[in-house]
């Protein structure tokens, strides 16, 4: 039923809806496998080159010819069906790898009310064959490249089919056959072109109500998008987007960018990364009407708000729509903000979840190792006050919350001011300043000694009456505790914080402030709850001797924090600074001890003051020593480069990509605990190392321990304001790296690298 002469005159069938040109292309003779005939399908392999040569990759095509009315499927089959698969068996020498299928633009096939994506007539599925960079050992005359192809072919009924196909490749020096190359060039021209035109952002839209994915295409050149006619996005992942739009064509314009609105399938999934094809009936890049989008993230939180603020409505209007609750599923009120000409995707619905996440992030901050000690301290003082004057407890809570709020506002204010001043900075920037870290080291160390009982504060140091402190001084101290907790929390850029702060940094000031307010409220929430509901307070154990034990125990927690801070300090100023810093701390401890001994009511006031002055002088000497250390020449960056990792630079990444290698980038910092955890669990493990080696991945580590404007820019580009950030670049699509989650597992790394040969 299938004759060789037919081959030279085959047409690529093209559905009018995809706008493919349907001119005939002819396959050259030679370089074919045998033809396997299965029900309604004939299959064969065709190679672009019959000769294997070092450093000369070429394409091989699986050619499927379907009977009229029958079709096979795209990578995402749509409502039903199954994608065609090819399993390659490589010869012992001559072929390093065969890449995945390059899917031609699919056609839509109607099956009753269902729509599937696939190919009728003839389809050529291309894969890239890469010979090794060097031949090893003696070469045979020729080798066989084998493929096991499997497909599902359907008209109304469906029939699975498969074929084992072999094509022979030679080790001769035959010149490339121009006709063969022209044929494959024609096949490649049928592929969707890789996206060079747009910056892609995407988000699932609508809270509990709408079912849509918004894919936002912003012109890279900054120009505005002319009307591209009917345009839509098909994801390569199945079971996500409905095959038909509720409102076709689901497009809208916003600030010169194009929003494609695609409905989600009922009960489908919402993966964090998508890839796929943008189809149009008008040319999109050059004369091509189908553009391939490499993997892009679907968590563009600011997709509606940021554009709203950059176009017409003022930030105030975005804020105002906050007060409009999303209409409940049962309610008849359809989308109150439809008055504007923005699509249902925009502002209010995106801001609410962001604020929710910020609140949740703030709540979780309480569990961070660098907050917990302060939190314990605060709970401790709360317990104390509940025993003596329970009526004042809620005031303590409010004062603490105010402390948190105000310091978050100050941070936000600084961020905004510095941002507008064009300074490169990120969250956790305080930890990049040795002076700041030094101050924290001393602060936590002295607090720890205080808890151990080496010295007492507040009893008579500044001559303030104890009772007066508990009435008047209690609230300021609660306020200060709130502020301290905030300050200490900044290095813990938790996954929640990462996105919320990244979002805030790009927003107008009003929205930034809102996000920071939500963060602060989240952090203060447990206190407000505990203090406004005295019932819960009663659950707190009664004061007693155990408090002293607890207090001393908490001293150990603080000393743990000190160790972490010393480690950070060492990362900033070099390991040589550690002994000197420890000596300075010893001096400070001596000062604290003398202070504690001297500060007894039994002593004569003059003696007391004398000894206290000695203690303060010692402390000043210790601090002076520390400051000298902090001002020493900081350690050069790039110290993290080891074990196959090279220092990151954009040029180095581009160079590796140009060599055809995949690239993995790890942006990290010595003070970033989650970075360290990720590295130990997912990166510096044997399985991942082996994977990196097998796939010839070029590894780059960007060290943000000290502020580095180039890294700050890169983080900002990916919507982040802090580390970690993990990027996987494909040499095929260097402009659109895949962003991995902030919590990394070996499995995630493996999945991300799977697409590479």
């Amino acid at each position: 039923m299938f004759h060789r002469p037919l081959l030279v005159a085959l047409l690529i069938m093209a559905a009018p809806c995809t706008g493919l040109a349907s001119d005939a292309i002819a396959a050259p003779a030679g370089g074919h496998s045998e033809t396997v005939t299965q029900p309604h399908v004939t299959a064969e392999l065709i190679t672009e080159s019959t000769t294997l040569q070092i450093g000369q990759p070429f394409d091989v095509a699986l050619h499927l010819h379907m009977d009229a009315g029958w079709h096979t499927y795209w990578i995402n089959p749509g409502d039903a069906g199954l994608a065609t698969t090819i399993k390659w068996t490589l010869p012992p020498v001559g072929v390093n790898s065969v890449g995945g299928i390059e899917w031609p633009t699919p056609e839509e096939h109607k099956m009753g009310p269902l729509i599937t994506y696939g190919y009728g007539g003839d389809v050529y599925l291309l894969s890239r064959v890469t010979p090794p960079a060097l031949w090893g050992g003696p070469l045979p005359h020729q080798v066989d490249l084998k493929a096991h192809a499997a497909w599902l072919v359907c008209q109304e009924e469906c029939i699975p089919g498969k074929a084992d196909l072999t094509v022979t490749l030679n080790f001769d020096n035959a010149a490339p056959n121009p006709a063969r190359k022209a044929f494959f060039d024609a096949l490649r021209a049928r592929l969707p072109v890789e996206n060079t035109r747009w910056n892609v952002q995407a988000a699932y839209q609508g809270v509990g109500l709408a079912h849509a994915l918004i894919v936002r295409l912003a012109e890279k050149t900054g120009g505005s998008t002319p009307s591209p006619g009917n345009i839509r996005f098909l994801s390569e992942q199945p079971n996500i987007l409905a095959t038909k739009n509720q409102c076709y064509p689901g497009i809208s314009f916003e600030g010169g960018a194009l929003n494609l609105v695609e409905s989600l399938v009922q009960n489908g999934q919402k993966p964090p990364l998508l890839s796929g094809v943008v189809l149009s009936d008008a040319p999109l890049i050059g004369t091509v009407k189908a553009v391939h989008l490499g993997p892009f993230s679907t968590d563009a939180l600011g997709i509606g708000v940021s554009s709203a603020s950059s176009v017409s409505p003022t930030p105030a209007s975005a804020t105002a729509s906050l007060s409009t609750p999303p209409s409940s599923p049962g309610g008849a009120s359809p989308m109150p903000h439809f008055g504007s000409d923005l699509p249902p995707s925009s502002s209010s619905l995106t801001l609410l979840p962001v604020l929710g996440f910020a609140f949740l992030g703030g709540l979780i901050l309480n569990l961070m190792p660098c907050v917990l000690p302060v939190l314990s301290l605060k709970v401790f003082s709360l317990i104390k006050h509940a025993g003596t004057e329970s009526g004042g407890a809620w005031k303590q809570g409010v004062a603490f919350s105010a402390g948190v709020l105000v310091s978050f506002w100050i941070l936000a204010g600084l961020l905004i001011v510095l941002e507008s001043a064009g300074r490169h900075l990120g969250w956790g920037f305080q930890m990049q300043s040795p002076g700041f870290v030094l101050a924290l080291v001393f602060l936590f160390f002295l607090l720890g000694l205080n808890l151990f009982g080496v010295f007492e504060l507040g009893t008579s140091l500044v001559g303030v009456d104890v009772k007066a402190t508990s009435h008047l001084g209690g609230l300021p101290s609660a306020f200060a505790n709130g502020a301290l907790a905030t300050l200490a929390a900044t290095p813990c850029t938790a996954p929640f914080m990462g996105s919320a702060v990244g979002f805030a940094a790009q927003q107008p000031a009003a929205i930034s402030l809102l996000v920071f307010t939500a963060l602060a409220l989240g952090m203060a929430a447990p206190y407000l709850a505990l203090t406004t509901f005295p019932g819960a307070l009663r659950l707190v154990p009664k004061p007693g001797a155990w408090m002293e034990i607890l207090k001393q125990f908490m001293g150990f927690l603080l000393m743990g924090t000190v160790i972490f801070l010393v480690y950070v300090f060492a990362a900033l100023t070099g390991p040589d600074s550690v002994p000197m810093l420890l000596a300075a701390l010893l001096l400070a401890a001596l000062a604290a001890w003398i202070f504690g001994r001297a500060n007894s009511p039994l002593r004569e006031p003059a003696t007391r003051i004398g000894w206290i002055l000695v203690a303060l002088a010692l402390l000043a000497a210790a601090l002076g020593e520390g400051i000298k250390l902090a001002n020493d020449k900081p350690l050069a960056s790039g110290s993290v480069a080891q074990d196959g990792w090279q220092p990151w630079s954009p040029a180095a990444v581009q160079q590796a990509l140009a060599q055809g290698r995949p690239v993995f980038v790890d942006f990290t910092a010595a003070w970033c605990l989650s970075c360290k955890v990720n590295e130990q669990i997912a990166l510096d493990v044997d399985s991942t190392r082996k994977l990196f080696a097998d796939k010839h991945v070029a590894l780059f580590r960007g060290d943000w321990t000290q502020s580095d404007p180039q890294i700050s820019d890169t983080l900002r580009h990916f919507n982040r304001n802090g580390v970690p950030l993990y990027l996987v670049y494909s040499p095929k699509d260097p402009a659109n790296p895949q962003v991995l989650p902030e919590v990394l597992t070996p499995g995630l790394v493996q999945d991300a690298l799977q697409k590479f040969p």
Binding site: A80, G81, G112
Partner: protein, 208 residues
């Protein structure tokens, strides 16, 4: 037609469809929500309603006797074994055939009963949905496609039967079966880990 009026029209349609959707939500099976009740004729000729099985776990299996992916599970005896095991634990297992008359796999009650007998089907009942109404309410697109409903009548799983999308029976042994996983977890009082997975197979043969 200028862009603004296109947009306004589009927005109005979307808004209208949302309103419709929210009003009609009782007629659509949505994950985590109570599923709509239905009644269909069974292979025994009698009418069976979902509400007859209140308070029990219910599995819905969309099927088509002619689909090779259905064959994958019936020729190997896998589906029957699964049906027997789960109904043995008190689960109600309903097979649903939504093939429209004149389309592939359409059955009369007598034909469905004959198939049950010849294939040793161990389900609670086979239901016929020739109008496709129930199929559309559940957004069933493939055969086989599986839905699991908990004792409260809420949908806790929707999607493919397992994670190996292939017509090859040899893959069943190494595949992760999402239906048994969902039932096991729900029966143990745990949340269902995978509540949705891509369905795979033949399209449901609805009327055009």
């Amino acid at each position: 037609m200028n862009i603004r009026s296109t947009l306004l029209t589009c927005a109005a349609i979307v808004a209208a469809s949302f309103t419709l959707t929210s009003r009609a939500s009782a007629d659509e099976a949505t994950l985590g929500q109570p599923v709509p009740d239905f009644s269909l004729q069974g292979a025994d000729g009698k009418t069976h309603a979902l509400s007859d099985y209140k308070g029990k776990f219910v599995v819905l299996e969309w099927t088509n006797p002619k689909c090779p992916f259905v064959h994958k599970f019936y020729d190997s005896g896998t589906m029957q074994k699964l049906q027997g095991e789960e109904t043995g634990k008190g689960v109600v297992w309903l097979r649903v055939n939504s093939s429209a008359p004149g389309h592939e796999g359409a059955q009369t009650p007598a034909e469905a009963a004959a198939y049950e007998k010849s294939h040793h089907v161990a389900s609670t009942e086979t239901l016929l949905d020739p109008t496709g109404k129930v199929g559309h309410e559940f957004h069933a697109t493939n055969t086989p496609q599986m839905f699991v409903i908990n004792k409260e009548g809420k949908l806790i799983y929707a999607g493919g039967i397992d994670d190996k999308a292939s017509p090859d029976p040899a893959d069943i042994a190494t595949a992760k079966n999402y239906v048994t996983a969902a039932l096991d977890e729900a029966m143990a009082g745990q949340a269902v880990t995978v509540s949705s997975a891509p369905p795979y197979g033949c399209s449901v043969k609805y009327a055009d």
